[in-house]
Symmetry: C2
Subunit: 212 residues, 2 copies
DNA sequence: TGTACATCAGTGAACGCGCGTTCACTGATGTAC
DNA sequence: TGTACATCAGTGAACGCGCGTTCACTGATGTAC
């Protein structure tokens, strides 16, 4: 519970909106339980009464949607920063994958909401078009295409299939670690090296199964 | 809601336990929402009053744990049946991976509970020891070791690391599809072929990143 | 064979709780005249 | 410069709901004598 909050001056009402999103985020990280992020808990954390939430969000779903949107934007930021300055397209793709996994492991609760939640939990729009149109997804497909253009990856494979396969692979590592943190996983660095090494090698060499 | 249930005869009280687990399972599949699986809803589905549940389960967590345990056993069954009769160890490993993905896609709600849920949701014991000791996990490690013994996979890599990497890969495909069913994924067969082909090829060839 | 009785398999009512949301309101603050 | 007033940023109380769980009970059923 935060301290008592001073009422915003006239014209500064929008400040509360940002405070609410921050508080929802804080609660999510602190409790590690999205069920604990209730309208009432958020209001208490902000230092405001529950109905005040409805001055800025139509209902709970809209609020959680806004939280997701912020986190999704920060995922793309993180990935772009991770590959900034890496010229080789394949190394860049690999760095992107590694940064993705680390983002998930470092922000398990956000990651769970974004990519592991029930479809019903996040608003419908996130289902497909939003995800497709998202900066993070577009950047991944572009990164694959850059590899193909440079000859690092074979061009005879759909860039979307390759992007999806890579996404599934890094998502697999991230989401397993997020879902079962107490399992005795190999050291994270080893796991990342192994999985990305295997996948990148297989992809670069055409991804044909070794057995006809 | 099922029809009225006849009271068990004396000595046959255990029948209710099985009926409760079946009902919980049915509810899970029908609603696709684990929050809908409440003690009261289960009781109504069985055709019994809510307190009757407590004749067989100490609390809700124990009930859900029992549901998970059954599903986990059926996952191992499915995988073993899928590889039965496949002699080549690498083909067998591949078939195991494919069967795993299809199990997840075919049983999205069970899969979500087993491998995508909050750690707090499933009882603590599932966290590590249970999963490690599980038949499905042991069988996977053994399958990798069989490949190494036959020379299909390099022996200079930890079988647990390779098993974990493979698990992460198939889990990635399964859990993405489960979490975002409305995303325009490539055809499932293509995705399975691609991801397993890439991973198996990379693994069989040492998994060294193509770039030093 | 008949009957008292213990036991088994439940029932029915109630508990306290936290939830999302609505509604009528209030009091400080900036603005128009 | 002073004051009436509209507006903004909330408050406080209440709603109905479904939840997990507890408790005292009941009525059929098998068993011992």
């Amino acid at each position: 519970m935060a301290a008592v909050r001073a009422r915003s001056r006239r014209g500064e009402g929008e400040r509360l909106r940002a405070d609410i999103l921050d508080a929802a985020d804080r609660l999510l990280v602190a409790t590690g339980d999205e069920d604990a992020v209730s309208i009432r808990a958020i209001a208490a954390e902000v230092g405001v009464t529950a109905p005040a939430i409805y001055l800025h969000f139509a209902d709970k779903a809209e609020l959680l949607f806004a939280v997701c949107e912020r986190t999704f934007a920060s995922l793309d930021d993180t990935l772009e920063r991770a590959v900034a300055g890496i010229d080789d397209p394949l190394l860049s793709l690999r760095a992107r994958g590694e940064a993705y996994i680390r983002f998930g492991v470092d922000n398990p609760d956000h990651y769970r909401i974004l990519f592991m939640g029930r479809p019903a939990f996040t608003p419908d729009e996130w289902g497909s078009e939003r995800l497709l149109a998202s900066a993070a997804y577009r950047h991944l497909v572009e990164a694959v295409e850059a590899c193909q253009a440079s000859g690092s990856l074979p061009a005879d494979i759909s860039s979307e299939l390759a992007a999806t396969g890579l996404w599934a692979t890094v998502h697999g590592v991230a989401s397993l670690l997020v879902a079962r943190p107490s399992f005795p996983w190999p050291p994270l660095d080893d796991l990342i090296d192994h999985v990305l090494g295997v996948h990148a090698f297989g992809l670069a060499n055409g991804g044909r199964p070794p057995i006809p």
